[in-house]
Amino acid sequence: MAANRIACMGLNALIYAPKQALRNCWGAVAQARSYYVDWRMLRDVKRRQMAFEYADERLRINALRKNTILPKELQEIADKEIAALPRDSCPVRIRNRCVLTSRPRGVKRRWRLSRIVFRHLADHNQMSGILRARW
């Protein structure tokens, strides 16, 4: 039953929710996305959620580990404890992917978009305040 639930969750994550075609003021059809782009993006989402859950615990245990005051035996035990936590709970595994294309590289942090999508939108005047550079 637990496996069924997890499967359902996975299904729910990628569940298709068809929506009406959104039209902006010019009548052009905007992109209506109801899926995550791919499974890698879904896994990234799961890692982010888990990292958020275990954030406090990891912080505290790391505070115990990374000091010179407490005895080393305690620090060794803390090392083992943090290693026992689930692997997806560490924030290091999070990759800032492009939000629209799930591209892992070439992503500008401010806009969360890959360079290609950014350039596409900027050329079509969808990014407010972005101009082509000329000097």
């Binding site: 902006n24 505290r60 035990i77």
Partner: protein, 427 residues
Amino acid sequence: MHRLLSRTVSAARTRSLCVYECCVLPAKIDNVSRPFTGVGANTICTCTVRRCEKKDDAIPSNQGEATNLDTETKTTQLQEESLEANDGGSTQQQRNVKAEQVLSKPSQVKTDGAKSGKKSLLDLLGAMKVEVTSKRKLKNLKMKQSFESAVQYKSKSAAMESTISMFQKANVQASAQSEVLDPDLVAAASAAASTLLNRSRAESELLKQLRQRKALTEAQKKGDINNLGVLIADMKVGKTPGRQNAWPADQIRFDDDGQGYTRDRGITSELANVRKRRNIFPTKRLNIFSPTTDEQRGDSALAKPTLWDLDFANELSLTTNQMPRNGFEEMIQWTKEGKLWHYPINNEIGLEDEASVPFNEHIFLEKHLEEGFPRQGPVRHFMELVVAGLSRNPYLTVQQKKEHISWFRDYFHQREAVLNEADVYLN
């Protein structure tokens, strides 16, 4: 005890096929003013009234209180009227004959019959309303009735038997063939046949059917099924009505030009076909399957949500969600969901309650270190550093800071043994 006339109003569509017979219930008359009362106070009068549909209103309703003579005359009148209304002289003659016979019988019955508050065979037969759609159907009905009546009134008084014996004398010719049969059955058959049109023929057929059935039951009792072929060979083949114009349903008909066409049908034809079969649901249950209980179904449904449940929930959410008509509504929806920041940007969004908390609770956290922690040693040193860091953190609430400190307290208490080995003592 008076019994009223009962009428059946016919709703027949075709007069030729449907003949509705209405029978007058016999009226018991206490005081009889007749010259030939020799037997007893109570007398019986049976009369059958036959009429067409158009005669329903003409005939008077209540004859219960009339005397025998009056009833007789009235019945003769009625019958004459009905006869006049009917078509065909031959039928009239037949009916006259039958009427006379019918009337003669009751008179004979009056002479002999001594009833003490119980119905006679004839009364029961006469009282029953018969709907005739086809001869065969009538025969079957009459068979049933005669059987029932015969079974019921098998054990009767001597007076009953006398009437039956009288009937037997009257129908010597018919009963000669059926000596094997029960005299009660014979009497019932003859009485039933008397209500029909073609009396003699109907009676002979009835008796023949009775004989067949008796032979069949005897064969079944003996367990000898081999003779079934003999029995079946004697039986008539039944024919369903309406077999004259029996085209197949999908018969292709041809126009003059040679192109064939089938009748264009929709769903209605299927429904009509379904309705053509007389009864889809038989009257009697076969009891092959036991009715299932719904308890088992209910538990399993609640246990785990199936894919169908998920699909339904999804569809429900889609139907209830009103799509945003424009970008503004979309942004509003996202803001409500939490995907979009609130504008103008508020850094302390979600932390409105914290504004009421005074600053000293954020900064002076050493009071939480008074209990559960030692006053000296590396643990205390560590916790003071923790408190110093928390006091400088503007992004956490007081509750979160307290939770941090309490977590450390629990952690150190759990690992007290390890700390004691390292000569760090928690007092």
